[in-house]
C-alpha cells in the first residue's frame, strides 16, 4: 500500500479525493431528498370508508468535512519517503415529531392535533417554577434601599 503511493503519488491523490467527494455528494443528495412531502405525511391508512393520514414534522441536519495532507510541499522533490493521507468525517441528526392526524371520511375532513403531554407538562413546570422564583425575588425588600435608610 505504501509502495503504491510512492510510485505514483500524483495520480492516486486526486482519485482518492474525488472518491471521497463523491461519497459526500451522494450522502448529501440522499439527505436533501428527505425534504419531500412523503417525509412529512405517512402512508394513508384505510379503515372502512375512512382514511387516516398521519403527519409529522421532520428536522434533519448534516455536515461533512474532508482534508488531505503530505510531508512534501507541492512541487518540491524529496528523496525521503512520501507520506500522505486523506481523511474525512461527518455527522448528522434526524428528528421527527408527530404533529396531527388527518381523518378523511364521507362526512368530511377533520384534523386531530397530536399533543406531546410529557413535553408540555415539563415545560409548564419549568416555566411556572421560574415565574414563582422571579415573583419571590420581586416581593423581597431591596437591599439598596435598606442600606440607604440605615
Amino acid at each position: 500500500m505504501k509502495e503504491e503511493i510512492i510510485i505514483a503519488p500524483n495520480e492516486k491523490e486526486p482519485a482518492k479525493k474525488a472518491a471521497g467527494l463523491e461519497t459526500i455528494q451522494s450522502t448529501l443528495d440522499k439527505f436533501l431528498s428527505a425534504a419531500d412531502v412523503g417525509a412529512v405525511y405517512g402512508q394513508p391508512i384505510q379503515h372502512g370508508d375512512t382514511i387516516i393520514i398521519p403527519s409529522a414534522e421532520v428536522v434533519s441536519g448534516m455536515g461533512f468535512g474532508l482534508g488531505s495532507g503530505s510531508n512534501v510541499e507541492p512541487g518540491q522533490e524529496s528523496n525521503e519517503t512520501r507520506n500522505e493521507g486523506v481523511g474525512g468525517g461527518g455527522g448528522g441528526h434526524v428528528f421527527s415529531r408527530p404533529v396531527a392526524v388527518i381523518i378523511a371520511s364521507p362526512e368530511g375532513v377533520r384534523i386531530e392535533p397530536v399533543l406531546d403531554l410529557t413535553k408540555i407538562i415539563l415545560a409548564a413546570l419549568t416555566t411556572f417554577g421560574f415565574m414563582a422564583g422571579m415573583l419571590a425575588r420581586m416581593s423581597k425588600p431591596n437591599k439598596d434601599h435598606i442600606e440607604l435608610s440605615e
Binding site: I24, L28, F31, L32, A34, A35, D36, V37, G38, A39, V40, Y41, D49, T50, I51, I53, S55, A56, E57, V58, V59, S60, G61, M62, G63, F64, G65, L66, G90, G92, R97, V99, A100, I102, A104, S105, P106, G108, V109, R110, I111, P113, V114, L115, D116, K119, I120, A123, T126, T127, F130, M131, M134, L135, R137, M138, N142, D144, H145, L148
Partner: protein, 93 residues
C-alpha cells in the same frame, strides 16, 4: 444556491369516497455555500380538500404542542422582562 430556501410542496392527491385530499408541506432549507452540509425543516401546513361539486377548502394543520410551548416561553420571557424593569425602577433614588 441561496442560504435559506422556502418551498411549498403538494403531495400525491388521495381519493376517499367523493373527496380528494391533497397534503401540503412547507420546507425550509438552510445551506451554507461552500460547506458540505445543511439543515432541513419539513413540516405539514395544510390539506386541500376538493369536493364532488368542485368546491375547494384549505384546512390548516395546527401544531398545538408548539403553540403551547411558545406560549409558555413567552410567559417566562415576559416575567423576566417585568422583573428586570422593576429592578431598574427600584434602583432609581
Amino acid at each position: 444556491m441561496s442560504l435559506i430556501q422556502f418551498e411549498t410542496q403538494a403531495g400525491r392527491p388521495i381519493l376517499t369516497g367523493k373527496i380528494i385530499v391533497t397534503p401540503i408541506a412547507k420546507v425550509l432549507r438552510l445551506q451554507i455555500p461552500g460547506l458540505q452540509g445543511g439543515v432541513i425543516w419539513n413540516r405539514p401546513v395544510a390539506v386541500l380538500v376538493e369536493r364532488e361539486d368542485g368546491s375547494q377548502e384549505m384546512i390548516h394543520v395546527r401544531d398545538v404542542t408548539r403553540l403551547l410551548l411558545l406560549t409558555l416561553a413567552s410567559l417566562a420571557a415576559g416575567t423576566m422582562i417585568f422583573w428586570l424593569l422593576s429592578r431598574g425602577f427600584r434602583r432609581k433614588p
